[in-house]
């Protein structure tokens, strides 16, 4: 690999790592004062356990060999046979992909906030990564779904739809928080949410533009798409709620930005021109309404992982079926409907997401059920009431006023 490409992948890897703390603050600010440290810990735990798991077996099972259908082998376990030849391109790529593996289960933490036992989370994360993330990642990137022609540039299907539907399965087993939905659970710190949003947007340039796995024109276009989709989705959400509810809110802007980033993720290296603006606008409007489904259907997805990540990921992934523009990229992928293609690409997108949804939902539900019947998944009522920070971690987030 050329040294310029290696340099960009290394920088991108660090950018993606930074997204997990960003996500922690995005979620943590939305949480209440007594549970914010538990939320940060659920996220940080993912960047403790997943890098190790990824190097031991995750990478090898999901990418070696690249083009077999269902699951890889153990040839590259423990970085076996990976050297620093070729400018270290293989090492840089493995580290880069490990960052994605780490943030994916972290996305689910927002749904189970305020009530899940940390011991159960500690087991859920590596088990889910091996049984759900690794196979879906394999099928989408190099495996049978990718070979059929479905497109996922940086992880719309493999990461956001996958984690989003897993979040739904997890909360269906876990149950609602005490007092939901009649009591509001307002964010305890909107400034933390906005800092988290900024870190996510910043890191997402590595997530999407880095997925070109080269410092080239496709990376530059993916960068521009990430820039535009996030802005236009944030703008769309802000305008919808301003008109609908009377006020433009910070949380609306932040949620729209994230929805746009999620939606452009699968499309970032396949669309061009004004397409990211349309994808962002559509995702912003759609997600502004899908976050209301939880109260209508009664599933307590605390911080809207389903409404933003699942819905946004699915919208972006399906829109590739309309906006994909292989001529612009000189690429070997199918054209979207707006660029002279048939519905075949859209059908492949639907199939790939359908498979990911069924697999992820079923396996996540099963993992949560097994944990529920063995070690238990839910904290007791007193711990839920007094707060998970003190009950599970023996820490409190805020020591104010000099009174300890």
């Amino acid at each position: 690999m050329e040294s310029g490409n290696v340099a960009w992948i290394l920088v991108s890897a660090a950018l993606v790592l930074f997204m997990t703390p960003g996500l922690a603050f995005f979620y943590g600010g939305m949480d209440r004062t007594r549970n914010v440290l538990n939320m940060l810990m659920m996220n940080f735990y993912c960047i403790l356990v997943i890098p190790v798991l990824w190097v031991v077996v995750g990478y090898s099972l999901s990418q070696v060999p690249f083009d077999n259908d269902f699951i890889g082998n153990f040839d590259a376990w423990m970085l076996n046979g990976i050297g620093i030849d070729d400018n270290g391109g293989a090492l840089a790529t493995i580290a880069y992909l490990g960052m994605f593996a780490a943030i994916t289960p972290a996305l689910i933490s927002g749904a189970v906030a305020d009530r899940m036992k940390f011991s159960a989370w500690a087991i859920f994360v590596p088990v889910w990564s091996l049984l759900v993330y690794v196979p879906v990642f394999k099928w989408v990137f190099g495996g049978w779904l990718g070979q059929r022609g479905s497109l996922d540039f940086a992880g719309g299907t493999a990461i956001h739809v996958n984690a989003g539907i897993a979040a739904l399965a997890a909360v269906l087993v876990l149950g609602k928080r005490k007092g939901w939905p009649q009591d509001g659970h307002p964010p305890h710190s909107m400034p933390l949410v906005m800092i988290g949003t900024g870190i996510l947007w910043f890191g997402w340039f590595g997530f999407n533009a880095g997925s070109a796995l080269a410092a080239n024109g496709q990376a530059a276009q993916a960068f521009m798409n990430t820039f535009l989709a996030a802005a236009s989705a944030g703008l769309a959400w802000l305008l919808v709620e301003w008109k609908r509810d009377g006020h433009p809110t910070n949380l609306g802007a932040a949620s729209g930005i994230v929805a746009g980033l999620v939606a452009i993720t699968p499309a970032a290296g396949y669309v061009s021109g004004a397409s990211p603006i349309f994808i962002g606008l559509i995702a912003g409007v759609v997600c502004c309404y899908t976050v209301r489904l939880k109260t209508r259907f009664g599933f307590d997805d605390s911080l809207d992982v389903v409404g933003v990540h699942f819905a946004g990921g699915l919208v972006g992934s399906l829109l590739i079926g309309f906006f994909a523009n292989p001529e612009f990229f000189g690429g070997e992928f199918m054209e979207g409907i707006f660029y002279g293609g048939s519905v075949r690409l859209l059908a492949e997108q639907a199939l790939a997401n359908g498979v990911a949804i069924v697999w992820s939902f079923a396996l996540t539900y099963a993992i949560m059920k097994v944990l529920q019947r063995t070690i238990g998944i839910r904290v007791d009522a007193e711990a839920e009431s007094t707060g998970l920070d003190l009950a599970l971690h023996s820490e409190t987030a805020y020591h104010g006023g000099g009174l300890h």
């Binding site: 007092g179 009591d183 009431s385 007094t386 003190l390 023996s394 820490e395 409190t396 009174l403 300890h404």
Partner: protein, 112 residues
Amino acid sequence: MKLITAVVKPFKLDDVKSALREAGVVGMTVTEVRGFGRQGGHTETYRGAEYQIDFVPKTKVEIVVDDDQVDRLVELLTDAARSGKIGDGKIWVIAVDTLIRIRTGESGPDAI
């Protein structure tokens, strides 16, 4: 008129609020406070070192009520705030001479 002050566990505040609302109380003042009684404090751990937290977070609820309501409301409040464990808090009642609604200038029980 009487001022009822209750210092309760923070997580009991919702139960207290609902009980008082259902009993017809139309307003209350709530303050986040810290203190200790027989429960003492708790410990937190940072880098392996234990820290004794003497003043535990509590919530102080204050309502001004008419004399004939006091017994009923204190009983309701006691039931709502009780978990049966140490640290449930205290309730005290003192007489109030004057009460004025700022907007209208009404005074006495009319201002409740």
